[in-house]
């Protein structure tokens, strides 16, 4: 029996086939989704902010520390580093009229996640990012496919 596990904000979950992992209602948050097709180990970290402060108790909240932790823990759990591929979902600009620098945090989250993955040598093979609307991401660890659901657009699979 496969099980669907929901990954909340600032949470990280790693699992094996046939389980599914889901991030529901991603706005400016980014789901960094990493998968090893050879062992069918998959993981998601659901990050809220881009860069962690020097003293940081919750690495899963930030794109840089969260992505690093996800990759290293997946390797600890038996995933093969050279097989890892990543997909990015989220990073929308939800409120464009706000006079807040944080209104652009979605783009920053994506930028930092991409840079960190590049530094780690994990290629980004697909993404559903940016724009002004939220979405949910559901990863199937059997295939590594990610299903994207949004409020008003058709379902797509990446």
């Amino acid at each position: 029996m496969s099980q669907r596990r929901v990954v909340g904000i600032a949470q990280m979950v790693i699992c094996r086939a046939p389980d599914q992992l889901a991030c529901l209602g991603l706005g400016s948050c980014v789901a960094v989704i990493v998968y090893d097709p050879s062992t069918k180990i998959g993981g998601i970290v659901h990050v809220l902010l881009s860069k962690a402060p020097t003293k940081c108790n919750d690495p899963e909240k930030y794109a840089d520390t969260g992505t690093r932790k996800l990759v290293s823990e997946m390797i600890l759990k038996g995933a093969k580093k050279e097989k890892l591929v990543a997909k990015l979902v989220g990073g929308a600009q939800m409120f464009s009229r706000l006079n807040l620098s944080i209104a652009d945090i979605g783009r920053l989250n994506l930028e930092v996640a991409r840079r960190t993955l590049r530094e780690l040598g994990v290629p980004v093979v697909a993404s559903d990012i940016g724009g002004t609307h939220g979405r949910s991401a559901i990863m199937d660890t059997l295939t590594g496919k990610v299903t994207i659901e949004a409020a008003f657009s058709p379902v797509r699979v990446i």
């Binding site: 209602g25 706005g27 809220l48 009229r97 807040l100 939220g134």
Partner: protein, 203 residues
């Protein structure tokens, strides 16, 4: 959660909620040109992690207006309408058919105005009650998944929020009925200050 706060605090939150929501309803009445009755059906302190479930799940489609306080107090403030309530309200306001999946510029602008009025009048009442200025930034509104609209308010406070003052209110006018939520996401210091000003003794 409830056991962390005594009944006195809950009473204070209810008072705060009904005065704020009542004021917002009055403002909304004149905008809609309707005699609007409102009733606060629930007011409580909800842990942040339970907010999406309390409002019907992170994938529920809502119309959300968001602002934040500038100045002494640090808090995000949201007015949220479930999709059916938002549709009804916009239909009445714009005298047009409304499809939230293809919302027009005019309709979005009307929604932003509704949010602006509700939030400002809500805060005005609360501000008078606790004798602290609450100066909201110009709000913005959008229609989207509930989980998605909560991201920016959370990111803005760096997720330094544990307690959400959550208010559910139902509005009635003629044969129409709709519902809305007010959420305040105060930083801890702001939350404590509000309680103190409302006369809740410090623990």
């Amino acid at each position: 959660m409830a056991d962390r706060y005594d009944e006195r605090v809950i009473e204070v939150i209810k008072e705060f909620a009904s005065i704020g929501a009542g004021n917002a309803a009055t403002a909304l009445s004149s905008l809609l040109d309707l005699e609007l009755m409102n009733e606060v059906t629930s007011a409580k302190i909800v842990p942040l992690s339970e907010v999406p479930m309390w409002l019907g799940g992170p994938e529920k489609v809502v119309a959300c207006s968001y602002t934040y306080l500038c100045g002494e107090l640090r808090s995000g403030v949201l007015a949220i309408l479930p999709d059916d309530s938002a549709t009804m309200l916009l239909k009445h306001l714009t005298k047009q058919e409304v499809d939230l999946s293809a919302i027009t510029k005019l309709q979005l602008s009307a929604l932003q105005e509704v949010g602006n009025i509700c939030l400002c009048w809500y805060l005005m009442a609360v501000s008078k009650m606790i004798h602290i200025d609450m100066i909201p930034a110009p709000p913005d509104a959008t229609v989207d998944l509930l989980g998605a609209v909560l991201d920016i308010p959370l990111a803005n406070l760096g997720a330094k929020v544990d307690n959400v003052l959550a208010v559910h209110t139902s509005f009635r006018a003629l044969e129409k009925e709709f519902e809305g939520y007010f959420l305040m996401l105060p930083e801890e210091a702001t939350f404590n200050l509000i309680l103190e000003r409302m006369g809740v003794p410090k623990k």
